[in-house]
Amino acid sequence: MKLRSFTALLLILTMALGLTALAADFDAKQVITVVSREEGSGTRGAFVELTGVQAKDASGEEKDNTYSEAIISNGTNLVLTTVADNQAAIGYASLSSVLHNDTVKALKVEGIEASTENILNGTYKIARPFNVVTKGELTDELAKDFMAYVMSKEGQAIVTEDGLVSSANDQTPSYAAANKSGSLTVGGSTSVAPVMELLAEGYMELNPEAKIEVQSTGSSAGVTGALDGTYDIGMASRTLKDSETEKGALATVIGTDGIAIVTNLANPVEDITVEQVRQVFTGEVTTWEALNK
């Protein structure tokens, strides 16, 4: 009994593993697997706005026309995993995450490579600000000091190193540790969270008495949390809405992040236009073959 079931298991296992490893040549007739994010995600909000996937409909109302067959992934990594595993897939994700990931390929947009230099010089168009959000001006000493660190030469070096575009220049002041103590909660966008974690780690090294907790929940939750006091500082990977600024939300840009259009490594497509991106993500074009025409 034991031996039999064991051999059966081995058989199943080798079959399964063999099949997953089976990778055919790229077939352009394949239906494109469109990978998007959930409604309310900052990355999706910025993406649909910048690429024209969101457009005014007949009644003049802004409408997000994302293809109804698009897979909805609940995070940057799930987008990247899905695209890395599926030859026919296309998705979009924070450039800073894509730069740390060699399992997918970032496409050139309008012939411009997705890189920090090209975002800085303004040629790569699909980019959005990473914001920290506070309710009015900060009053808490620790929060103020942390923000000073984030915007300092040292903080912005971390931001740049992570693949974001920093607005820091020679005038940016250095941070001097004041050995603050206490605790802070920073929460919001899942795209901003990774770099914020690095910033928090850097800060806590300089101020061992301080404790900064980073929560990744989502851009809108970050703004809401900053307004209702759940978070001392919120994070949003998009510009604030009017309804949010009216309630007193104040945004500070800590860096600019590109949104990379990513495909599978096996996909021969290297370059895409914004119009093609729009066509794919609204479902007007559904195969790779049709896209290249």
Partner: protein, 302 residues
């Protein structure tokens, strides 16, 4: 399921006489074996897949090609480079302890009431049974909403280990309550009579004589609860949140299961998630093995 014991429906026994019917039954029996193999096969496949992919993640090769244990996976502080799971492991322990602190006293106390004090068949007992069954059937995403609305927002505990533990405490309560009741009921009446005969009171009899005998059954339920708590994700994401540090009662902290879920979502490493899955699997297997070992000892005694 204790209710199943009462089955005595009337059924016509039609006895097959033709050989073709024997063949049909033979075929069904073969199907039974096939189904059994599928069940065991699936379990082995899952475990093997996670282990095969996860175990190598605990080691790294240096330039000479010698294997080293990746101690950074268990560094005291999590950061986005080492992806340490130690804080998550400690948070899982805290979460388990806190949740059990809530559900065990309530569950055991309630079970004692149902088994030793309540009049069987009374209205109150019926309501308690029905509500316990209801609690057991509520999906974890509803517990997530409940925990968020009640503990995080209304009682202003914020996203914290405490909110998470209260939520999971409620979730595991019915499991412990029902198992305690069943274990107490299976203790022979003679134990109680003997104790009364020696002049002991009700409380003394229950706590000193009956409860110790029923202990293995209760312990098995506690171990199963530990398994559920360490595996829970949905109910914790909005109650105890995703804090990456070693969390105190009022801090947000991710347990191992939430850590795995979040690594999928935002992180930059698939390998590390396999490693987390391995640890999670080991905890569950351990808890299950312990639980069935204790249950086995219990049946041997009885």
């Amino acid at each position: 399921m204790s209710e199943t014991g009462a089955t005595t429906p009337a059924v016509d026994i039609t006895v097959p006489t033709r050989p073709s019917m024997h063949l049909g039954s033979r075929f069904l029996k073969a199907l039974c074996w096939a189904a059994g193999f599928v069940t065991i096969g699936v379990l082995l496949l899952i475990i093997a897949y996670i282990l095969v992919n996860g175990l190598p993640e605990f080691f790294s090769r240096d330039e000479q090609g010698t294997l080293h244990f990746k101690a950074s996976l268990f560094a005291l502080k999590y950061n986005s480079r080492n992806l340490s799971m130690l804080p998550a492991i400690l948070n899982t322990l805290t979460m388990t302890a806190l949740s059990l602190l809530i559900s065990v006293p309530l569950g055991v106390g309630g079970g004692i009431y149902l088994a030793e004090y309540a009049k069987p068949g009374s209205k109150l007992v019926k309501i308690i049974r029905v509500t316990a069954e209801t609690l057991a059937g509520i999906p974890s995403i509803i517990y997530a909403l409940f925990g968020m609305l009640v503990f995080v927002v209304t009682l202003q505990m914020g996203i914290s280990m405490l909110s998470g533990a209260l939520t999971l405490g409620t979730m595991t309560l019915p499991l412990i309550l029902r198992q305690t009741e069943e274990s107490l009921l299976s203790v022979p009446m003679s134990y109680r009579e003997g104790s009364y005969g020696l002049g002991a009171g009700k409380l003394r009899t229950t706590v000193r004589i009956v409860l110790p005998v029923a202990m293995p059954g209760i312990l098995a339920a506690v171990l199963l609860s530990i398994g559920r708590i360490s595996g829970e994700t949905a109910a914790l994401i909005f109650t105890s949140g995703t804090g990456t540090g070693i969390a105190g009662i009022n801090d947000s902290g991710r347990t191992l299961a939430v850590h795995l879920f979040k690594l999928q979502e935002e992180g930059r490493a698939v390998g590390a998630s396999f490693a987390v899955a391995v640890v999670l699997l080991i905890i569950v297997v351990l808890m299950n093995a312990l639980s069935s070992y204790i249950a086995k000892r219990l049946t041997k005694k009885g």
